[in-house]
């Protein structure tokens, strides 16, 4: 399989505020890309735009998956085409059990042509698979009976996102700070699980401020975002450098992007 997710000259605004200012990124199936960058530089925005969040308007540029126009698809179609995002802040859906939600989601993503109201994947099969995957993530089975993200601890929320990744087996996944809020053990577990789920079976874009997730998932490419642009791309060593030394060098090297970043931050505090 040679799936390709291609992002070209992507400009994204929230309201009339421009955030992404021409992002170019190509992710091939089986590749792992790290996306780093200071707070407010636009990393989550890129993920949300890929997933199709209605609040993020693409004003210019394109996103294609194997040549198909992703921007023309509704978010649910994107999911069924094989795009996934583990959210930085997953939403609680009170009263909806994890298991029911996941069974529905898994059914739809595995049978993209399913019509509403048609059968879900058989309960027994689903349960068995869910149980296995949860055991793998060292999650208590009780967890499946809890309401989606409702009252979850930060760590539980992130683990639940990884569980969804494992169940939905997308072609491309954006993991937005899936390591934040996890304790050291949990990060290692998460990192291993992502590797287990099979990073070679998908294209991964890992947004992170740490390097822990990258230990078990060494990126072929590291991108640095600043002021809504990818200003630099390197290999794994770039991730190591940024983690150790921070963004000073980047900020100095790309004054224009730095100015844009400051501008966004200023607006943010003004709001």
């Amino acid at each position: 399989m040679n799936h390709i997710l291609k992002i070209e000259n992507l400009h994204v605004s929230v309201g009339d505020k421009p955030i992404l200012r021409g992002v170019n990124l190509t992710i091939k199936h089986g590749e792992t890309h790290a996306l780093m960058g200071p707070n407010g530089s636009g990393k989550s925005t890129l993920g949300l735009a890929i997933m199709g969040h209605p609040g993020y308007t693409v004003t210019e540029g394109s996103i294609t998956l194997d040549g198909e126009d992703v921007l023309a698809m509704a978010p649910d179609e994107r999911a069924r085409t094989g795009i996934f995002m583990a959210f930085q802040r997953p939403m609680a859906i009170p009263g909806v059990k994890m298991a029911d939600f996941l069974r529905h989601a898994t059914t739809n993503v595995r049978n993209p042509d399913r019509k509403e109201g048609e059968e879900l994947i058989p309960m027994r099969e689903f349960r068995k698979e869910l149980k296995e995957k949860m055991a793998h993530l060292r999650m208590d089975v009780e967890f499946a009976r809890r309401y989606v993200n409702d009252g979850f601890s930060g760590g539980e929320m992130k683990r639940a996102e990884i569980l969804q990744l494992a169940m939905l087996q997308p072609k491309f996944a954006v993991l937005d700070e899936t390591d934040s809020g996890l304790d050291a053990d949990a990060v290692r577990l998460a990192s291993e699980s992502i590797a287990d789920i099979g990073r070679e079976k998908m294209g991964l874009l890992i947004i992170t401020h740490h390097d822990k997730l990258l230990v078990h998932n060494p990126p072929e490419f590291t991108h640095v975002m600043l002021g809504g642009r990818l200003v630099e791309t390197g290999g794994k060593e770039l991730a190591v450098e940024l983690h150790e030394h921070g963004y000073d060098r980047i900020r100095k090297s790309y004054p224009e992007a730095e100015a844009a970043n400051q501008e966004m931050l200023a607006e943010e505090t003004a709001v």
């Binding site: 649910d76 999911a79 009263g95 939600f101 529905h104 739809n108 993503v109 109201g117």
Partner: protein, 468 residues
């Protein structure tokens, strides 16, 4: 009365059964309400004099009372209604006359064949003898009385005279007076001291029952230390030709006894559903109302628990779903009439496509009801800007040392919640259905299994608009 089909009303909705059928071969009293009609009802039923007098007094009460000014818009012409349709034992209405859309709905809900006919009004009584005969025997052995109220008047006059119309007298409100004058059908249950009925008792089980009437009258007496869970109604849309339904339900829960009364109703869109439900809970007794209301043009229903003696508990869970052309004015009443009593109300309403839901609740702590606790939570979910939700909480407290809590919230389906579910491959309607089902889950999980499943399925159909 406006009972004509209004096609544009409810396209794609489950509650679009605004049609009339000519019922042939069924005895009809004349239209309108007079002493003559009431006497006729009593004659046909061959009732004792005390019941006839009760009816006639109630009629006078009804006539002397003005229409309530609160609640919903009551566009009713009392003289244009039939007050009694005599069931002929076997109904003349044929299954072929039942509109296809109703049949489709039954299919979608997976209602068994025999129940379908009952619900559609084809059968005046559910064929329960065969299925539930042994159950009836079991109950009888334990001394449980379970029959329709008409039969009870004939067969258990001593209990009826003692309790009938005592919790809700005809003087209570205009519609209770109306019901008292023309009532027919409904369930009568007596559970002897200490008898615990393990399984939910359903209206279906009742044999020799009259069909679900417009003016049902239900009386339940749970004697000391006994317990019962009674379930009535069905999530299938009620197929009916009469547009005014006004039931009265009286429950007496004696010392240390428990009663849970679960109702799920899904009325057709032309129905005024005006129900008075009240329970008296005595020492350390527990009364719970679980009440789900869908459909109808206007529902006014406020199940009440009066906690009469120390230690009594009253709990009311209510779900209302209103869509286009529907007004659910639902709520609850808790009266703390004794010390150390505990009450709780949880109300959830959903409004969609211009539907209107109101919560109307009363919490009253009477003088002397020291150390009482009461908590009210009412949450409204509004699915679109055309829809509406209101809250009318009334609180009257005559004591100092009481704990009273009230929380109310109104929410809309959040864009972020929606996006989260969409991003996992759910369609918009699946996602909103899921959010709505999640919203009512705390109540649905209190329902007996099969009702919970039906309820979720029904919400799904409502949300998809896939019926009709």
């Amino acid at each position: 009365m406006a009972t004509d089909v209004t096609e544009n009303d409810q396209i794609g909705e489950i509650n679009k059964y605004n049609f009339r059928t000519e019922t042939t071969g069924v005895f009809k009293a004349q239209k309108g309400l007079t002493a003559e009609v009431v006497n006729q009802i009593s004659d046909i039923k061959n009732e004792p004099d005390w019941m006839r007098e009760f009816r006639l007094k109630s009629l006078a009460e009804f006539e002397s009372r003005p229409m309530p000014k609160w609640g919903g818009a009551l566009d009713l012409d009392f003289q244009d209604i039939y007050y009694y349709l005599k069931p002929t034992g076997q109904s003349e209405k044929s299954w072929d006359d039942v509109p296809q859309e109703i049949k489709d709905t039954f299919d979608k809900l997976g209602i068994p064949e025999a129940e379908k006919k009952f619900l559609a009004g084809v059968k005046a009584q559910f064929e329960s003898e065969v299925v539930y005969g042994s159950l009836q025997e079991d109950l009888a052995k334990q001394g449980v009385l379970f029959t329709d109220t008409d039969t009870a008047v004939r067969e258990h006059p001593e209990l009826l005279r003692e309790y009938f119309g005592k919790v809700i007298p005809p003087t209570d409100n205009k519609f209770a007076a109306l019901n008292s004058a023309v009532w027919s059908g409904g369930s009568f249950i007596y559970v002897p001291p200490g008898v615990q009925i393990e399984f939910p008792l359903q209206a279906y089980f009742r044999i020799n029952a009259e069909s679900m009437g417009q003016f049902e009258r239900t009386l339940i007496i749970v004697d000391e230390g006994a317990s019962i869970h009674y379930v009535e109604g069905c999530t299938a849309p009620m197929y009916t030709t009469e547009s005014l339904h006004s039931a009265v339900v009286e429950v007496i829960v004696k010392k240390d006894a428990r009663c849970r009364y679960t109702t799920i109703q899904n009325w057709a869109n032309n129905i005024y559903n005006l129900v008075t439900k009240r329970a008296y809970a005595y020492q350390d007794a527990t009364m719970e109302w679980v009440d789900g209301n869908l459909g109808s043009k206007l529902t006014m229903k406020y199940p009440a628990v009066h906690m009469m003696e120390p230690g009594a508990r009253g709990e009311i869970l209510s779900i209302a779903f209103s869509s286009a052309g529907q007004h659910q004015d639902a709520g609850a009443k808790l009266v703390h009439a004794a010390p150390n009593t505990t009450g709780q109300i949880i109300s959830k309403s959903i409004s969609k496509n211009g539907g209107r839901s109101s919560y109307r609740g009363l919490v009253r702590v009477e003088p002397g009801a020291h150390n009482s606790k009461n908590n009210v939570v009412c949450d409204a979910l509004i699915l679109d800007p055309e829809s509406r939700s209101d809250t009318y909480p009334y609180i009257e407290i005559a004591e100092q040392d009481v704990q009273i809590g009230h929380e109310a919230s109104v929410s809309r389906i959040g864009e972020e919640q929606m996006f989260y579910l969409l991003s996992r491959g759910l369609t918009e309607s699946e996602a909103s259905t899921m959010i709505v089902n999640g919203f009512i889950e705390p109540l649905v999980k209190e329902l007996p299994m099969e009702y919970a499943v039906e309820m979720n399925r029904l919400i799904q159909l409502q949300m998809e608009g896939s019926v009709g």
